[in-house]
Every structure is written in structure tokens, then in C-alpha cells.
């Protein structure tokens, strides 16, 4: 008998580490305009190639290419650009506020702004997003959610709409189609499927949109969601934001090596796309395709958005400990704001001067919102909602034992 080779456990590693540049050839990138666009009612099995290729519209020269290029009015694109800029400025201000200890914690979405902003523009009022903590762009792209109120949540102050009960960024905005964020990762995805099932049960026209990161796709909730979405053909979009990193863990540890997250969808019978998440026009076009599919009773779509988490995971994280410092600059898909700006300039609908002016305007808007929010206090001055309110909303009506405990606390 020939002796067997000793077995070896494979533990995936990123190619780049501090002091060693990332080899981004692991990221398969299709040329802009090269990927086909089937009709939205296509059979899930026929999307297999779309789950490995990369839908891209904007080329390196800022031109929109190919069948996915959306017919989007320049005014809408400018709106999208402003929303992305606003999101980035908002994040930068809040990071600063966190360093000043006005916030206990913050999470930015630097480099990922196009995904939430363009997706939000492809949805309709009444649709419900089930976001993670990195989709503030869904709210900031809307004009009916006040930034000052969002900052009150971040500061857990007296005007925090959720009364200081959750970490900063765990917003809840039912009226804006934004489900309460949970810190337990992935739980919201099967919930979104249930919401979508309810819409279908009632013969409604609304759809749900679920969000999850590459890391959390390893949670069983993700696979549960895919099964239920497929079984009941739920009108839901399942967005996997692959920003390459889950805190310090490279996406290969979540199962991205040698395959794509989009391919998970095809395997369970869900139409799936892999899309350049830093390409505003591609995000809008793919979101619209999936939304139309859901609204026409053709069922769910899984979209893997390729992007890069340019900043730390949160204010408690230091990425210089585990990845090269210049990784984002070398990431092949670039900066979403720069790319849309370039496109608008190329088509003659924007200029450096307009960009500069918009930036200043938005900065002033964010500063004013922060000032307004600080009127209601912050963690620094301890003006937080009264401790007695922690007993509210545990149940619809307060039971006797909580009444007693509130008394015991002496407030």
C-alpha cells in the first residue's frame, strides 16, 4: 500500500499585509460595458455567468458603456453625487465628533457611498430596507430625514428618537423605509424576506431590500434567508456588500476564495449579479433590474457589490495592524465619488468649480445640523434621555414588575 500524504489544513490569507502590497488579481474585473443584460424576468439558472463576471458601466475615461448604462437624467446623477458627497462629509464630521467624545462610537462607509445612495434611488416610497450599520447613505440620500435628528441618535442626547437605547448608527426610520438596525449580524436578512413575503401575502406592491456584508454571509441566517426567499419567491433584493474586510478578517475567511458570494444565489435558485459597487451607474442599473424583477413577481435577486472598506471597521479599529496602508489607493475599482464626478464632467454636466461649491455647501449643511443637534446635548454634557425611560417599550404596556423596578431605581 502506498502511504498517504499527510493532510494539511488550508487557512486562507490575503495577499497583502502591512508592508506587503496586495495583489488585486484575485478580484476578477470585467471591462466596462462587456457584461450582457438579460431581461429582468430571466430564469435564475440563466444568471450563472452574471454571478462571476462584474457588471460595470463607467470606464476609465468616465464614459458610460454597454447594455447596463441606465437612462438617467443628469439632474438625478447630480443628486446622487451630492448625496454621496454629503455621506462622506457627514462621516468625516462624525468621526471628529467621536474623537471629541461627543459620540461613544462611529462607523463610516468611506469608499462604499455609491451602493446605498444609488440603490436608494432605485427603490420606491413604501419599500423597506433592512440595513447593516454601513448603509447610512440610504438615509442621507433622502430629503425627508433630518441630519440633525440622525446626529441626535449618534449623540444619544435628549432628542435621540430611539432614546439612547442603541449604539450610535443603529438608526430606525420606519417612515423612511429603514428597519431598526441590530448589532447581531445577519439577523435582518431573513426578516427582510419575511417582510417581503407579507407584502406578497397581502397583494401589495412594495418590496424589501436586505443588506449584509461579506463577512456575515457565513452566518446561518444568510443561508436561511436565501432558502426562504427562493421557496416563497419573495419580492426581496439581497445585497451582499463585499468590501473585502470584516474587521481584520479578509473575505476569503467568509468563503470568498475561488468563488463569489453571488454564486451562492444561483446555487439555491436565486437570480444573481456581481456588480462594481463603486460605479454609481452600475449600482443604479442593477438595483433597478432587481427591483423590477421583484415587483413583477419574478422573485428575489442576490447582488454582490464589489467595493472596498476604505476606513477602519469602526472607531475602535486600527487597520494598519492587518492590511497595507495604501490598499484603497491601489484598489482596482477606484473611488465612487471621483468616478461619477468624472463622468458628469465628461458629459458636460458638472465642473470642478461646481464640485468645489457643492462640497462647501454640504460641509456647511452638516456643520449646521451638528450645531442644531448639540443644542439637545451630547454624551459630553450628560444630557441623555432619563434613565426611567429604559423601562418603556420592553412591552407594549408596562407590566407590574417593571413598574416596581422603576420605583426601586428611584427615578
Amino acid at each position: 500500500m502506498t502511504p498517504h500524504t499527510a493532510l494539511r489544513l488550508h487557512v486562507p490569507e490575503p495577499t497583502g499585509r502591512p508592508g506587503c502590497k496586495t495583489d488585486f488579481s484575485y478580484l476578477s474585473v470585467s471591462p466596462a460595458g462587456s457584461v450582457r443584460r438579460p431581461p429582468p424576468d430571466t430564469a435564475p439558472a440563466d444568471t450563472a455567468d452574471l454571478a462571476t463576471s462584474l457588471v460595470r458601466v463607467l470606464d476609465d475615461d468616465g464614459k458610460a458603456q454597454g447594455p447596463w448604462a441606465p437612462a438617467m437624467h443628469p439632474e438625478r446623477m447630480r443628486r446622487g453625487l451630492r448625496a454621496m458627497m454629503k455621506t462622506r462629509i457627514f462621516d468625516a464630521r462624525m468621526l471628529l465628533a467621536q474623537r471629541q467624545k461627543k459620540l461613544s462610537f462611529y462607523m463610516q462607509c468611506l469608499g462604499e457611498e455609491a451602493i446605498a445612495v444609488a440603490h436608494s434611488m432605485a427603490l420606491q416610497d413604501g419599500d423597506m430596507c433592512f440595513p447593516t450599520y454601513r448603509q447610512q447613505g440610504l438615509l442621507l440620500a433622502r430629503d425627508d430625514v433630518s441630519m440633525a435628528e440622525m446626529i441626535c441618535q449618534l449623540m444619544s442626547n435628549e432628542a435621540d428618537p430611539i432614546k439612547g437605547r442603541q449604539l450610535p448608527v443603529m438608526y430606525s426610520y420606519k417612515r423612511a423605509g429603514f428597519f431598526s438596525i441590530s448589532g447581531n449580524l445577519g439577523t435582518q436578512v431573513p426578516q427582510a424576506v419575511g417582510w417581503a413575503m407579507a407584502s406578497a401575502i397581502k397583494g401589495d406592491t412594495k418590496i424589501a431590500s436586505a443588506w449584509i456584508g461579506d463577512g456575515s454571509t457565513a452566518e446561518s441566517d444568510f443561508h436561511t434567508a436565501l432558502t426562504f426567499a427562493h421557496v416563497y419567491r419573495a419580492p426581496v433584493i439581497i445585497n451582499v456588500v463585499n468590501n473585502q474586510w470584516a474587521i481584520s478578517t479578509f473575505q476569503a475567511i467568509a468563503g470568498g476564495e475561488g468563488t463569489t458570494f453571488a454564486q451562492r444565489g444561483v446555487g439555491v435558485g436565486i437570480a444573481s449579479l456581481r456588480v462594481d459597487g463603486n460605479d454609481f451607474l452600475a449600482v443604479y442599473a442593477a438595483s433597478q433590474w432587481a427591483a423590477e424583477r421583484a415587483r413583477s413577481n419574478c422573485g428575489p435577486t442576490l447582488i454582490e457589490w464589489e467595493t472596498y472598506r476604505a476606513g477602519p471597521h469602526s472607531t475602535s479599529d486600527d487597520p494598519s495592524k492587518y492590511r497595507p496602508a495604501d490598499d484603497w489607493q491601489r484598489f482596482p475599482l477606484g473611488d465612487p465619488i471621483e468616478r461619477l464626478k468624472q463622468h458628469l464632467i465628461v458629459i458636460g454636466e458638472w465642473s470642478e468649480a461646481q464640485h468645489e461649491a457643492a462640497h462647501k455647501e454640504l460641509e456647511a449643511e452638516v456643520m449646521a445640523a451638528q450645531k442644531e443637534a448639540e443644542r439637545h446635548g451630547s454624551l459630553l454634557d450628560g444630557r441623555v434621555p432619563s434613565a426611567a425611560t429604559m423601562f418603556d417599550d420592553v412591552y407594549k404596556d408596562m407590566p407590574e414588575h417593571l413598574r416596581r423596578q422603576r420605583q426601586q431605581m428611584g427615578v
Binding site: 420606519k174 431598526s180 426578516q191 407579507a198 406578497a200 397581502k202 426562504f228 407590574e400 414588575h401
Partner: protein
């Protein structure tokens, strides 16, 4: 103290039929009531509680779910957030563990974490308890896992009348409700004498159930059997076991059927213990950190100076529920009777 409604009229129903009738009444009254779970649709559930509901209300109101308890609860949260009232079945209480995160971190806390922006009112039904040779994965009584979680209501009926009335109240409730069904009581008031035939519900007063709408309030206990010598706190199957034990031991026990475990009707308990000065807590679940520990602590906190004897606990042993030895595990009337005697003689 709440007393059992004297049912005028009503028709004989098993607990299974009473639960089905409760679902039927509520599905008929409210289009938003949706029923699903494993084997629940066409077949009507392994215990037949949902039999006929799909035929009557259609398969978007009553349907089969994949074998995925976490998914069943998670989708119910989404449906509830949309505005439906899901009533889902976990086939055996022993199977709820995969759904723990969705129950504990999500359903129970959604209202609080969003300051009322969203909520997840739903009913999660699950058959519990042993005595059917179900072994360690079809016999558990996991109520203490739920009573420990703020934001949940936990309910366990002991008879068909309460089962239907409590189920209707649970469906109408705005909080998530864990609805535990002692499966050994599905067909008759089992008193722990496993070697004797069980009286069917059709031959018992509490098996008479009104066909239409009525409710039994949540967080209200009931004095199941009045007495003066000792208070017995019990729920589900153990109410009947305690009743047999008191009768056979000749102890004038006051048996309180908690019905709602949490929030708890503490007033009814305290009133009784202050009167009798003695207390025995009985449950089928394992002993350590069981719900009996909470009951015992509450009684001593509130009635210490009225107590004339140590509080007794009669429970399942701290072992997995055995298959072949289940009657040695089950806290039957003999064990309860011994505790009653110890309590009254102390």
C-alpha cells in the same frame, strides 16, 4: 383571585381541537393572522392542530415552512413588522434552539431598541413536556429560557378551555408570546399515573369549549383547587399531577395554575401563600435555574415572615430527559405527595 369561568354550553373539545378552534376563530376575524411551520399546511401539523386551516383559508394564510426554526421566527418578525400577525409553530419545543437569536435578540427587543418605531407581535406555539416516550429531543420544557428574556410573554395552558382563550389573547397581544402546549394534555387531563388510562377531555368539564370567540386574560393565574394547608404553584401538566397528589395524600392543598408564567400574576400567589404559610413549587423541567427558582425567590422575598416551612421544589431531575426511564424522571404524584407532606408537617 380569578376563578375559572363556568362554561355554560360549549362543545366537547380536546386541547388540540380547542387550539385549532382558536386559530380558526382568529383567522376568520382577522385577515392578517398567518399560520405556518413545519408540516403545518396541507397535512395540518404532526399533532394536527392546524388541520383543515389551509383548506379553509388558502395556502397563503396557512402553509408549510422549511425545516429551519430560525427562519420561521425571522420571517415572522419581518411579517409582524409589516403589520401581519404571524402564529408560527415550532414542531417540538426541543427544536427552538436554532431560533434563539431571532427570539431573544430580535423579536423580544425590537420594540425597545427602536423606541416603538417597529415591533414584532407574534405567537410562537410549541408543544412541550414529556410522557410520550419522546426521549431527550421531544420532551423538554424550556420555559425558563423564555421567562429569562425581557420583552417576551410566556404562557402555558392546562386545559382546552384555557388553551383556546389564552391563544386568542396571545394572538391579540401586541408583544411576542411564547405559547407552550403540554402535549401530554392534548387528549386528556393526564395526572401522572402513566399506568392508568387517561380520562378523555370529552368526559371532563374543562373539555367543554365555546365554539366562538372568547378570551382568557394573560398574566392572570387561577386558583385551580382551593385549600388551606399549603399552596402549590404549578402550570401545564403539573397542575393535574399536583391535584392527584393532593387528593391521594389527603392534603388540603391550594393549587394555583399560573397559566401565564411571565409576566406573572404575583398577587394571586402572594395572597395564597400568606394564607397557607407553606409553598410547594412543581415543574417538569430540570431543577437548577428552572422557573421554580424564580418562583421560590419571589415567594421568600414577599412572604418570608408568613412562611412556616421551607419552600419545596418538585421538578425533573438535572439530567437529559431519558427515553426508557422517563417515568423515573417525570415528577409524578408520588414525589409531589411527599413534598406536600413534608411542607405541611414541617
Amino acid at each position: 383571585m380569578a376563578e375559572h369561568n363556568q362554561v355554560q354550553g360549549g362543545v366537547p373539545m380536546t386541547m388540540i381541537q380547542a387550539l385549532r378552534s382558536g386559530l380558526d376563530v382568529m383567522m376568520g376575524r382577522d385577515d392578517n393572522v398567518i399560520v405556518y411551520g413545519e408540516d403545518v399546511g396541507y397535512f395540518g401539523g404532526v399533532f394536527r392542530v392546524t388541520e383543515g386551516l389551509q383548506a379553509k383559508y388558502g395556502k397563503t394564510r396557512c402553509f408549510d415552512a422549511p425545516i429551519n426554526e430560525s427562519g420561521i421566527v425571522a420571517t415572522a418578525i419581518g411579517m409582524a413588522a409589516y403589520g401581519l400577525k404571524p402564529v408560527v409553530e415550532i414542531q417540538f419545543a426541543d427544536y427552538f434552539y436554532p431560533a434563539t437569536d431571532q427570539i431573544v435578540s430580535e423579536a423580544a427587543r425590537l420594540r425597545h431598541r427602536s423606541a416603538g418605531d417597529f415591533s414584532a407581535p407574534m405567537v410562537i406555539r410549541m408543544p412541550c413536556g414529556g410522557g410520550i416516550y419522546g426521549g431527550q429531543t421531544h420532551s423538554q420544557s424550556p420555559e425558563a429560557f423564555f421567562t429569562h428574556v425581557c420583552g417576551l410573554r410566556t404562557v402555558m395552558p392546562s386545559n382546552p378551555y384555557d388553551a383556546k382563550g389564552l391563544l386568542i389573547s396571545s394572538i391579540e397581544c401586541e408583544d411576542p408570546v411564547i405559547f407552550l402546549e403540554p402535549k401530554r394534555l392534548y387528549n386528556g387531563p393526564f395526572d401522572g399515573h402513566h399506568d392508568k388510562p387517561v380520562v378523555p377531555w370529552s368526559k371532563h368539564d374543562m373539555g367543554r369549549v365555546p365554539e366562538g370567540y372568547y378570551n382568557v386574560p394573560l398574566d392572570k393565574a387561577v386558583v385551580f383547587r382551593p385549600g388551606k394547608a399549603v399552596t402549590v404553584l404549578a402550570y401545564g401538566t403539573m397542575v393535574w399531577v399536583a391535584e392527584a397528589a393532593a387528593r391521594e395524600a389527603g392534603v388540603d392543598a391550594e393549587i394555583i395554575d399560573l397559566r401565564s408564567l411571565w409576566p406573572l400574576d404575583l398577587d394571586t400567589i402572594l395572597e395564597s401563600v400568606k394564607k397557607t404559610g407553606r409553598c410547594v413549587v412543581v415543574h417538569e423541567a430540570t431543577r437548577t435555574s428552572g422557573f421554580g427558582a424564580e418562583l421560590t425567590a419571589l415567594v421568600q422575598e414577599h412572604c418570608f415572615y408568613h412562611l412556616e416551612a421551607p419552600i419545596e421544589r418538585v421538578t425533573g431531575w438535572d439530567t437529559p430527559y431519558p427515553h426508557a426511564q422517563e417515568w423515573a424522571y417525570f415528577p409524578g404524584p408520588a414525589r409531589v405527595a411527599e413534598a406536600l407532606k413534608r411542607a405541611v408537617e414541617a
